[in-house]
Symmetry: C2
Amino acid sequence: MTKKSPSPEAVVAWARLVRVSRQLVERTEDALKANGLPPLAWYDVLHELAEAGEGGLRPFELIDRVLLAQYGVSRLLARLEADGLVEKLPVSEDGRGQTVRITPSGREMRRRIWTVYGASIAELMGDRLSAQELRTLASLLGRLRDPPAGD
Amino acid sequence: MTKKSPSPEAVVAWARLVRVSRQLVERTEDALKANGLPPLAWYDVLHELAEAGEGGLRPFELIDRVLLAQYGVSRLLARLEADGLVEKLPVSEDGRGQTVRITPSGREMRRRIWTVYGASIAELMGDRLSAQELRTLASLLGRLRDPPAGD
DNA sequence: TTCATATAGATGCAATTGCATCGACAAGGA
DNA sequence: TCCTTGTCGATGCAATTGCATCTATATGAA
């Protein structure tokens, strides 16, 4: 079977997308490290749990939200728990599972990460594109999401 | 010192950028794996070396081009050499260094990876955005490059 | 019930990555 | 020449990640 060939435009856009996002993430991770803060993945989980509120979330619900493998979530939660940033509660309806909830220290850590993370976003994106351009970018990227969804 | 806060537009664009690029790369890596092919990083290096021609490249020249750390390049080249895809030549003017050149098997492997990689790009980008939209996307992403450069 | 199958989450082990450092050579000043 | 400092590339060791599998519980059919 013959495979499809990408258009030159698609190749250029792909290359930029991959390269730029890697650079930006790397710069942000460096900024966090320089401030003695944990990696972005910690923020992602703390953010999701903060949004989820007192009810918390089941680990399997985190998998798609933070784009991590099951074992990745399992181990990340173990670290967060060891640091007192989240707590695990048994769930009565399902003896296999647990509910994970953010703690006050977790919220505090989330805030501390955000001061650096948010500044990085402002510097790397907000300073370089106008609000209108950012909306256009987000819209185009939205069309690339999986599964294909309207935007 | 008070840190800058990102605009809502910047945050949305950032989130999409990071998430979408991770998804697309992951899907592409999966496609390669499913076809028994090596990771994208192998393609990147083979591609750069193919473009460089017979003169080859010094390892340190690869570092920025493929966005890998020095030790990453060192180890990746060792694997590529072990698989006969590249060869290392001593360089006369600098006794510390070496020149890395792609071999015929390397070119062949590059072609084989591209059939899958290219198809993935076509499917994930080319099928979802028009040529004009792809150009717009590439242009916006170009403005985010580091260091800030006109596009 | 009982048994087969499925799902939630954890984990042993191997492979990979990151960090720090090393050895070798280069470059330039004293 | 000698010595200091810088660059190129490799590597030991620790931390992280990926893969496969495990335990425990749930679910549903017979």
